[in-house]
Symmetry: C2
């Protein structure tokens, strides 16, 4: 007898509608709506009958229809680079918590750092009429969002600035953080300091590189080309870059890693290295305290929370000019950044 079902011809597998509930309870359609939405003006007795019918039929309101009528989806979209990256998990969770406090659901998507995929995702979210968008840009041209923003989809850009579009942004102080980290190495006696970063088309990567250069210049050090490596954060490439810098007659005595993925690979390389090389990494990492890795820490959860709060302030009607918030980073000394230059 384990057959039947699944040959239903109607959508939603024949879900009951308010009309069905109304028929069963012997009341009008609108009365069901009132009960479902907790609106006043229904006698306890009627309400009970309606509730029973709802229960019996397994009715659940169809939010698609509701949205169509009301014009608000109570959902926001978050487009980031990669949910699997330990930096974005807490960020996303923080956004979710704020959304929840405002009764909204969160739809997220990973752009995989691909501008085209970013656009595709963002526009899909717009088609669903999310109330707001939080975007960690992969591309650098967001003019495609102009009609959407004009049409009322509140948008906040995070971590990297929006391209060619005027909107709210929440950033971390990449420049200042990198500068501080490199200066920290300088203060511990290093002069030949390597920098391994992400692709320079990424804003944060560029800013961190700039921080590195500024700190070096401030210290009166001329940066040699071989000390800088930019490109993908693919472990193989980072490993090769690090090994190159550590070889040769004049190897670097310290490294600055441009983000968490770079740091992880560099730590692995250094673990196999006989000399003691100093290291400061951008972004904190779980267990970095136990490994004694000095980092420039940015609070991912705070970034997410700030962005989401901005977003909902907009949704609640805030009407000021687009703002740009920059969150400070924090140097967390744990040992690796305080090593003196190896002989």
């Amino acid at each position: 007898m384990a057959m039947t079902a699944r040959h239903s011809e109607s959508r939603y597998g024949n879900r009951p509608t308010m009309k069905d509930v109304a028929a069963r309870a012997g009341v009008g359609l609108k009365t069901v709506s009132r009960v479902v939405n907790g609106e006043p003006g229904v006698t306890p007795d009627t309400e009970r009958r309606v509730q029973e019918a709802i229960e019996a039929l397994g009715f659940r309101r169809n939010d698609s229809a509701r949205v169509l009528r009301k014009g608000r989806t109570s959902s926001i979209g978050l487009v980031l680079e990669d949910l699997a990256d330990p930096f974005y998990g807490p960020l996303s969770r923080a956004v979710e918590e704020v959304a929840r406090a405002h009764g909204a659901l969160l739809i997220n998507g990973s752009s995989a750092e691909d501008p085209e995929r970013e656009q595709e995702l963002v526009l899909a979210l717009c088609a669903r009429r999310v109330d707001g968008l939080i975007v960690i840009p992969a591309g650098d041209d967001h003019r495609y969002l102009e009609p959407e923003i004009k049409a009322g989809i509140a948008t906040v850009f995070v971590d990297r600035p929006a391209g060619r579009v005027d909107a709210d942004m929440v950033l971390s102080d990449s420049f200042g953080g990198a500068r501080e980290g490199v200066a920290h190495l300088v203060a511990h006696g290093h002069r030949r300091i390597g920098f391994i970063g992400d692709q320079p088309r990424i804003h944060t990567a560029k800013e961190r590189l700039r921080g590195y250069h500024t700190a070096m210049t401030d210290a009166g050090i001329t940066v040699e080309d071989s000390w800088v490596s930019l490109g993908s954060t693919d472990p193989a490439r980072v490993r090769a870059a690090a090994e190159t810098m550590l070889r040769g007659p004049e190897p670097v005595t310290a490294l600055f890693a441009g983000n968490n993925r770079v740091t992880v690979t560099v730590v692995r390389v250094l673990a196999e290295c006989d000399r003691r090389i100093a290291l400061v990494g951008f972004d904190d990492i779980e267990l970095a305290d136990l490994l004694g890795i000095t980092v420039i820490s940015q609070d991912a959860a705070a970034v997410g929370r700030t962005a989401a709060e901005h977003l909902f302030r907009r949704l609640d009607g805030a009407d000021h000019a687009p703002a740009r918030v920059e969150l400070a980073t924090r140097l967390v000394p744990r040992g690796s950044g305080e090593l003196p230059p190896a002989a």
Copy 2:
């Protein structure tokens, strides 16, 4: 001149509809629909006119209305415990990739291990008529999902079995993994082995505890009550538990940590400890290789991918009885689990 806007009275901030596009292009409503959906039967010339109108007005199809008509949302819901947990990031990302391959978006929510919040989230997703659901259960009674499942929302439970409901499940072999890990410690000469786990109402926690007991019994060891600690994974509690087990006249010589959060805290405690205590943890952790932590590893991405593939197979019409898949775990020896008992 930076005023105006934002006083629009209509919903969606006055977004143009197909009707508007039709009027502007001088064609019928349905023709616009055809163009937007790439349906055949439109002259190139007409299509061009419609495209221009779309461009000029900044039209974007309203998917809410579309969903109402078509009955499919092309979105799936994922309810997990905490997106910020490094175990769930990759899992969620894997689900997203599969969804993307099927043209669906992913809505996720964190239950924070609260059954009530789980139910609230799940039902909100059902109200939005997600096509399918992937749930990492917080509660142990999912009968509330019965009407939804009956109504056609495909559901796959992950990591922990569903409560009192017949549905697809994708689990890791918690029992076998824990048993293997504890046996590994036994094989290295340990007999007084502590177990620190999560709340026993969580299925995986219970299974891992069972694996521990089985391995101990298999080795002919009688477990003392003081060797086992179950409860929240709050660092303070775990720390206290570990410290207690390591104190006293007959301290444990090895610890088995029930999940990644417990492991992290235990590693911290052991780092402050003068004796060398062996450790095996359930779940892998970033950089665990560098710290030499032996773990029972489960592939979060594989779990997510498997679950999502099951889900879409259902959505594509698979009609077999609910299946239960159990994924194997893998012991990864890295040093901490191979330490001999301290004197």
